[in-house]
C-alpha cells in the first residue's frame, strides 16, 4: 500500500522512500541481510540499495540513535547502541552468555581459518581431545555441521553467521591473514636452533 503522503508532498525522494522500505526489512529480518537480498525483496537495483543504506547508516549511528546499523556477517543488520548496553544487559542474555575459554577460542580460530574440519583434524592441530569444546561451540551456535568426511564419515564443522556477528566480522575473509600473525616454520625452526647454538655443547 502506497503512503498517501506521496500525493501531497514532493519531499520524499526515491532514495528516502527506498530507505524506508530497507529499514522495514532490517527490523523484521532475523539475520543480517546481504545487499542482494534487500534488492530482490525491494525489487530495485543493488546500487540503489547501496544509496539507501548510506542514508540509513547516517541516521542509525552510535552518536545519534539507540539503534545502530552495521555491516556484519555478510550483510546489514540493526543492533543496540553501546550507550544502551547496560539497560540491555538487564533484560537480555548476552549472545555469548559467558566469556569463551582459551580452548574454545583456539578451536573457533582453527575452524574459522581452516574449516570445514572434523574433530580429529582439530584435535591434531590442538594436540588434545576437543570433543567437549566442539560440542559446546555447536550448542552455542558458533559452529555447525558442514557435511561428513568421505572416508571415515567423521562430521566436519564450520563457523556460522552467528559467529561472524558476535565477533563483528563482515565475513570470514575479514579475518587477518594467519601468516601475518604467527612466525612461520622456518622462523620457528631457526629460533629453536639458535637456542641450541648458544648452549655450550
Amino acid at each position: 500500500m502506497d503512503s498517501p503522503l506521496r500525493l501531497i508532498t514532493t519531499e520524499a525522494t526515491p532514495a528516502a522512500e527506498l530507505a524506508k522500505v530497507v529499514e522495514a526489512l532490517l527490523v523484521v529480518a532475523s539475520q543480517p541481510l546481504p545487499v542482494e537480498e534487500i534488492a530482490a525483496a525491494a525489487e530495485v537495483d543493488v546500487t540503489h540499495v547501496g544509496e539507501a543504506l548510506e542514508l540509513l547508516a547516517e541516521r542509525y549511528c552510535e552518536e545519534t540513535s539507540g539503534i545502530v546499523l552495521e555491516h556484519v556477517a555478510g550483510g546489514w543488520a540493526f543492533r543496540a547502541s553501546a550507550a544502551a548496553s547496560e539497560a540491555c544487559s538487564r533484560l537480555f542474555e548476552k549472545p555469548t552468555e559467558k566469556g569463551l575459554s582459551q580452548a574454545a577460542l583456539e578451536t573457533l580460530a582453527i575452524v574459522a581459518y581452516l574449516g570445514p574440519l572434523s574433530r580429529p583434524e582439530i584435535a591434531r592441530i590442538r594436540g588434545v581431545n576437543v570433543d567437549g569444546v566442539v560440542a559446546g561451540l555447536a550448542e552455542r551456535g558458533l559452529i555447525s555441521e558442514g557435511g561428513r568426511e568421505n572416508e571415515f564419515g567423521a562430521i566436519r564443522y564450520r563457523t556460522t553467521p552467528l559467529f561472524e556477528r558476535i565477533f563483528g566480522l563482515e565475513s570470514l575473509s575479514a579475518l587477518p591473514r594467519v601468516d601475518d600473525l604467527g612466525a612461520d616454520v622456518t622462523e620457528i625452526r631457526a629460533r629453536l636452533e639458535a637456542v641450541a647454538e648458544k648452549r655450550p655443547a
Binding site: S89, A109, R148, V185, A196
Partner: protein, 252 residues
Amino acid sequence: MAVAVRELELDLDAFEGPFDLLLSLVLREELPLQEVDLAEIVIAFVEHLADRGELDLDACGEFLVLISALLELKARAMFPDEEAELAELEPEEAAEELARRLAEYRRAKEAAQFLRGRLEARRDLYFRLGPAPLAPRPERKLAPQSADKLAAALRVLSIEPPAPSTAHMALRFPPTSQFLERWRSLLRRRSRFDFDQEVKGLSRVEVAVAFLALLELRKQNEIAIAQAAPFAPIRISRADAERSLSWTAHSA
C-alpha cells in the same frame, strides 16, 4: 619458549641437560628420539612446576605441544607401518614436521588472541537473536525429493570406519631366553639345524629375537654359524660337533 619450559633440567639415561638443548639435539639428529624416555621428561616437568610453586599456563600449553610432537615423532619412528615405511620421513623432514606443528599451533593461538580482542570490543553490543516479534513467518518450501536419498543416507551411516591399526600391538618382544632354551634343547637332540626352517611361521619380531639368541650362543662359544653366501640359508651346529665350519656370515 616459556622460561619454565626452557629451564627444565633433565637427568635421563640418554641425556643430561636443559630441555631446549634436548630439543635442539633431536632437531639436529644428534640424539635418536628412540633412546629418550619421554615419560621421564613429563615427570621432570611436573616436578619442576611444583618446585616453582606457580601454575604457568603458557608454559604448560607450550610443553604439551612440544611433548606431543615429540611423542608422535617417536611413535612414528618406533612403529613404522608398511605405507609409512615407503614414504618414511627423513630425520630432516621429521624436524621440519615438528617445526610446522609448532608454527601451526602458534598461529591458532595468535588467531585466538585476535578473536578474543574482537569479543572484548563487542562485549557491550546487543542484537536480536530470535525472529522479530511482529515479523511475518517465513515459509520454507522444499522441492520434491527422491526417497532413494533416504536409503542412501541410512547406508552412509552403516559404513564401517576402517579398523584402527593394531600393528604396533604385535610389536611385543618375546624374551631372548625363550629362544636360548629352544636352540639349546634342539642342539641336544640334533647336531645341526637350518635357521630358516626353524623360524618358519614366526613373526618378524620373533625371528629377530631368535637371531639375537643365536648371536648370544655364538658369543658363548656354544654354537657355530655358517652361511655360504649372503641370503643363503644360515646353518647352525654345535660348537664341539663341527669345528671345521667357521663363521662366514657376510655383512650385507
